[in-house]
């Protein structure tokens, strides 16, 4: 069974249709990447997956369970965790509260202690508020917060956004180590380096549909894909 199966998803805002038939699978334990230019529909795809945006048609299955159009908390409780675009820290919550308030504890799973092992930099900041952190710390906390949900599927929307190259590498290494634990991941990125570092399967998106799918190695050989759908 796939961790995520999206079929012919149509969604949009107001009268406009942004997603025009998105279909994609994330296999159990796989790290998939969604690549594409600004406006290709990547974040809209995430919004439709997590329940922020109600799809017009199509279906979303998580581990075989139909979650099409379900409200966000139902999607979350079905095992989907989101690291959102812009990180969306709670300004009035401490770092510790971020890691405990919405945690879903399971035996041997992710908790505050394990997140701090993955991101030791957060340990010094436990008492700080969400809006007192640097961009890199916020990104670590956003990932840590999602991990305390002990998800079956982790969605990340442009975690490299606004980070210095060194921090992008750190986030990439953390994601690779998460991949090694068998966690299913769908990573939305514009940063090709991070995408191919983390992803085992790449989906390229353009104008609301998936226009190319393959492995990172295949993408490296497909110059025309990069030029047509990814370059600036």
């Amino acid at each position: 069974m796939n961790a995520l199966a999206v079929r012919d998803l149509h969604a949009g805002y107001g009268a406009g249709l942004v997603l025009q038939g998105v279909s994609l699978d994330v296999a159990e334990g796989e790290a998939a990447v969604l690549l594409g230019r600004n406006g290709a529909g990547k974040t809209t795809t995430i919004s439709a997956l997590v329940g922020f945006l109600r799809p017009r048609s199509g279906s979303v299955l998580v581990r075989g369970r139909d979650l099409t159009g379900a409200p966000p908390h139902v999607v979350a409780r079905a095992g989907v965790a989101l690291v959102p675009q812009g990180r969306r820290m709670f300004a009035d919550l401490s770092v510790r509260e971020h890691l405990t308030l919405t945690a879903r504890s399971i035996a041997g799973g992710w908790d505050e202690r394990r997140v701090l092992e993955l991101f030791p930099a957060l340990a010094r900041r436990l008492g700080n508020r969400g809006d007192e952190l640097s961009g890199g710390e916020q990104q670590m906390l956003a990932i840590g917060r999602a991990l305390t949900r002990n998800p079956a599927l982790l969605l990340l929307d442009e975690p490299s956004e606004g980070l210095a190259p060194k921090l992008v590498r750190e986030v990439g290494d953390a994601l690779v180590s998460l991949r090694a634990t068998g966690l299913s991941i769908l990573l939305v990125e514009q940063n090709l380096g991070l995408a191919t570092h983390v992803g085992q399967r790449v989906h390229v998106m353009n104008k609301g549909t998936i226009v190319w799918s393959g492995t990172p190695a295949e993408l490296a050989g497909a110059r025309d894909v990069e030029a047509r759908f990814l370059g600036v």
Partner: protein, 292 residues
């Protein structure tokens, strides 16, 4: 004014500020979480006072009313939010309008109920707090001191709950970004309903506590609504601290305004509000809300 009289007026002002805090806290809480200015807040306050009147007539106990009224108003809030506000989610103006409708229905029902009715009613303070004590050679009503103690205790308890409890953390997170909170597994529909219920319960509580001081009469809902709006605008919408600061400022200002320039008392607090809006549009403790 003699120093003694000034001190007593200061006590009056603080006592009124304590009342205003209880009243405004609920309004601020609901706005912070749901972005809805709950214009039924004054009607909830009024309903609380009249239910207290009936409870005291039936049971003879003010203290029963002090517990029963917030529970009753909280239950009402738990019905109103899912029934009326939820289906208008995302349409803020429509939500605000429907709270006006709720207010009109409540005040009309109060007018129609014969033993509540359209005339002025009084609710005596409980026997234990009915008398006066001598302060600086003047008699001062014990009940007003109780109002101060009650308001301050409530403010401290709410602040502690807000800072330390899980419910408080959920509210802080929800005020900041309810959608993100829902993506982390929290049922925000339920959180909104509970928040609205707490706000309504606080309005009802204010109605009970205020009744022995301010009495019960038609129009008390609008008066309370306007005052609580001024408090939250001055203090900063959506934060508990804002309600505290706003009430601490507006209560004494209103009292001293009435003493010094009785004919301009209302002008006085509106002037404070205008000044705050001019210098700090988000209120003294208001956080600037970032629109995503």
């Amino acid at each position: 004014m003699s120093p003694e009289l000034a001190f007593l007026q200061a006590l009056n002002g603080i006592s009124f500020g304590a009342l205003l805090f209880i009243l405004a806290a609920g309004l601020s809480l609901i706005f912070g979480m749901m972005d809805v200015v709950n214009l039924a807040h004054g009607a909830f306050y009024m309903l609380g006072a009249y239910i207290a009147l009936s409870v005291v007539r039936t049971t003879g106990s003010f203290w029963v009313a002090l517990v029963a009224v917030p529970l009753a108003l909280g239950a009402l809030g738990l019905v109103v939010e899912p029934l009326l506000l939820r289906r208008l989610r995302g349409r803020h103006l429509d939500q605000v309008l429907i709270t006006v409708g709720v207010a009109l229905v409540i005040t009309d029902l109060i007018r129609l109920k014969p033993d509540w009715g359209a005339e002025v009613r009084t609710l005596p303070p409980p026997d234990a707090l009915a008398g006066s004590i001598a302060i600086l050679g003047n008699d001062y009503p014990v009940y007003r001191l109780f109002v101060i103690a009650f308001g301050v205790t409530l403010a401290l308890s709410l602040a502690a709950l807000h800072r330390r409890s899980r419910a408080g953390a959920l509210i802080r997170a929800g005020v900041d970004d309810a959608q993100m909170l829902s993506a982390l597994g929290v049922d925000t529909d339920r959180l909104f309903a509970v928040t609205y219920a707490i706000g309504a319960a606080l309005a009802g509580l204010a109605g009970v506590v205020a009744a022995p001081v301010l009495g019960l009469q038609p129009g008390m809902d609008v008066e309370a609504l306007v005052l609580s709006l001024i408090v939250v605008v001055v203090g900063g919408l959506g934060t508990l601290g804002g309600a505290q600061v706003g009430a601490a400022l507006v209560g004494p200002a209103d009292t001293f305004g009435k003493v010094f320039v009785p004919q301009f008392a209302l002008f006085f607090i509106f002037a404070i509000m205008a000044l705050v809006l001019l210098l700090r549009p988000s209120g003294l403790l208001g956080r600037i809300r970032v629109i995503r």
